[in-house]
Symmetry: C2
Subunit: 229 residues, 2 copies
């Protein structure tokens, strides 16, 4: 039992619904598209470099990924067939932006058990329009008292969010799949955190700080949260 | 004097700072780039069609515009030189995402005069990361009690915002440059609105509903707001 909690916040992508799998499928398709110029490993590495270089400009989300793929194509492709790959990226990107939202197992059980007992917050990072579309399609927005779409999930972003909610850090519990975005910054401001690893994690999110405290719960299934709340 | 106001909200792009001019310059460059295939008018019309078709996917902002330009290039350009135009679009798009924020004349006078007397809200539409970057660079964020980045500015979006603030529509005054986004939806929910036309308006924002009420102030200069508050 974690005492004193008044607010419970959930990460959305890969905690409430499937997400990274679609991005990785998009990336696999991209690697195939440029397969005549570079190997899959080279394409993937070049794409990640491009994404990191542009993160401060594009932020997270599908549009930034599409633009980074296009930039990578310009770099690796030979002039004459590059434009076909660009068209294909736009086509697949549009599909990515319209994939149905697939709620993860156990999520509704947890939300319906907690919704009357705690103030529930959906705290997600990414493109505003992307995230709003997923939230609307998810059909689970009625469980939440607040929905927070953040452009990033740093310590400062969480501090601002908690100030906006009007609760103390020790009254705040974050549930998420990313150590870097959902766990480490929340612990750093004095909050509680539960880590529920997802089967697929974006490479960027695995670049974690070794000095991160290990003072958090790691659960295999989201339903196990109910044993602690 | 408008009585009973507790909250004053400002649109940001083209009300507080320069914006549309940079987008139109980007578009002019784009038209030049594809000038060997189509006329400027055709390029511009094709781009607007592409933007409207993708608005529900991309939302507003520079990344969506870049993707729409790339899609338009794929449509109009001949294969062999299309990729060079794509590279140029990415380059110009990056420049667009990093343009300094130029506060419009009179804005600081108005904000410093109102900041103690009213709850001030910055209510802007667009890409979350784009908007946050501009807000940070603007150096005027300390005047505002709330900053609201919305993916759109419909009647429902304003209703949600006002509910979040906890004020009545008749206590809410919106100041902005777009009839479609800043004036019409605010009047529709029973709020007050002041229109300050900007010298440049995006074509999309000029497609207004003819039935819109004309019960709002139109001022030439933002400082004139101080005569009414």
């Amino acid at each position: 039992m974690i005492d004193g909690i008044k607010v419970v916040a959930f990460d959305a992508d890969d905690t409430l619904w499937e997400n990274e799998a679609y991005f990785q499928e998009f990336e696999a398709n991209f690697c195939k598209m440029v397969g005549c110029y570079v190997t899959s490993e080279q394409a993937s590495a070049e794409l990640l470099r491009t994404e990191m270089r542009n993160l401060h400009l594009y932020g997270y989300g599908a549009k930034g990924m599409m633009l980074c793929m296009i930039e990578t194509v310009c770099k690796v492709a030979k002039e004459e067939s590059g434009l076909m790959a660009v068209q294909e990226i736009l086509k697949l990107g549009h599909e990515l932006l319209q994939i149905p939202v697939e709620i993860l197992p156990g999520v509704e059980t947890v939300l319906s058990a907690l919704t009357k007992k705690y103030q529930l917050v959906l705290a997600t990072k990414g493109d505003l329009l992307d995230q709003e579309r997923k939230i609307r399609k998810s059909g689970i927005q009625h469980y939440f008292d607040r929905i927070e779409v953040m452009s990033d999930k740093t310590l400062t972003d969480y501090q601002k969010m908690i100030d906006g909610i009007g609760c103390k850090p020790q009254e705040f519990l974050m549930i998420g799949n990313s150590i870097k975005s959902d766990i480490e910054p929340v612990l750093a401001i004095g909050g509680h955190a539960v880590h529920i690893p997802h089967h697929i994690t974006w490479q960027y999110e695995t670049q974690i700080d070794d000095s991160v405290s290990h003072d958090f719960f790691r659960l295999e299934k989201i339903e196990e949260v109910l044993n602690y709340l």
